[in-house]
Symmetry: C2
Subunit: 182 residues, 2 copies
Amino acid sequence: MARDGGVIRARLLDAGMRLAQAGALSGLRVDEIGAGAGVGKGTFYVHFPARSAFLAALHQRFQDQPAVRIERTTAETAPGLARLRAGSPAYPDGCRAQSAIKAMLLGARSEPEIQHEVAAQNARFGALVGGEFRAAGWPAPEHAARLWVGLVAEGAVAEAEARRRQPPLRATLARYLGATPV
Amino acid sequence: MARDGGVIRARLLDAGMRLAQAGALSGLRVDEIGAGAGVGKGTFYVHFPARSAFLAALHQRFQDQPAVRIERTTAETAPGLARLRAGSPAYPDGCRAQSAIKAMLLGARSEPEIQHEVAAQNARFGALVGGEFRAAGWPAPEHAARLWVGLVAEGAVAEAEARRRQPPLRATLARYLGATPV
DNA sequence: TGTACATCAGTGAACGCGCGTTCACTGATGTAC
DNA sequence: TGTACATCAGTGAACGCGCGTTCACTGATGTAC
């Protein structure tokens, strides 16, 4: 594992993502994950102490992608609603490049085994967004942030179901922020 | 069952709600439900053909309460954003009276066994809300409606976690609709 | 009123299966001399 | 270069447990005569 740079571990995670496209996180089976990665069932436990740790790693890996994308997009914008408007499309874009969105965004929060990790992730994200609302002078920035995160996630799920970008949906998102496009 | 007016069936559903407070829907065990209702495990199958049917009934029963409440609240308001503003607090209020909100609102959509029923419920709700946005002249009323439903649900979950009404959160919800309170 | 019989909700032990986890083993790779 | 040994990722059969579902039985209630 140290020697091969984590190739098999990565392949297991890849397989997990692929399988999560089809169903919920709770539907992932250890042996299917192994089979999907082209390794035996026992190999799974060489790389992960338990199924729940795998789920947590999978979720983390999923969230990394939109997070990185948002950072890159907004690095040079000043805090405030403008930055939210600039950064929010990055979230569905970052998700859309991945396949298991619905399982991740809908299922993860209610998966008891990883609820804690997921909540932590969301809180970190919420804190970031809260800063923007505070800079914009909204009266209850934490609440606004929480709702906004939920809104963006819902939008991402909708795009995932439609299987393509939905500009009117993104415009509607922006409108919720207070912009009123024609 | 016909004779007793469905008392035991109701007690099973009550027990299900009570148990769903603690964990996810997927955590509900048939024998625990029976025990919670004070009946034997086998009795469960006298009243429900399978566990999945029970989950669907539970979710339906949960959604009925906010639905009724919204109808009652908005019956005499004209269509449009005003009606959304008037009706939306009814949703968290209707949920808050119940205990299993998080399981219902977060978990149900990703529970493969009842996904279909849940989606149907949401669609019905979304169509209703879509009418308001259309009346208000929003450019993409279906998208707005879907996002709004998600937003209200997220707000209800947040209130459930806080275990009390959150007026600033509700004000923030209203603000997303375009009102800009001081 | 009393007796025999039918019905059916309720019961919980037993069944069966799926699946996460373990473990003794294999064989490839690295190291010492 | 060759030999012996150590290490450790990979393997899959076997284990064990939890849990949904079944089923033969009980006993209360209703009905016929």
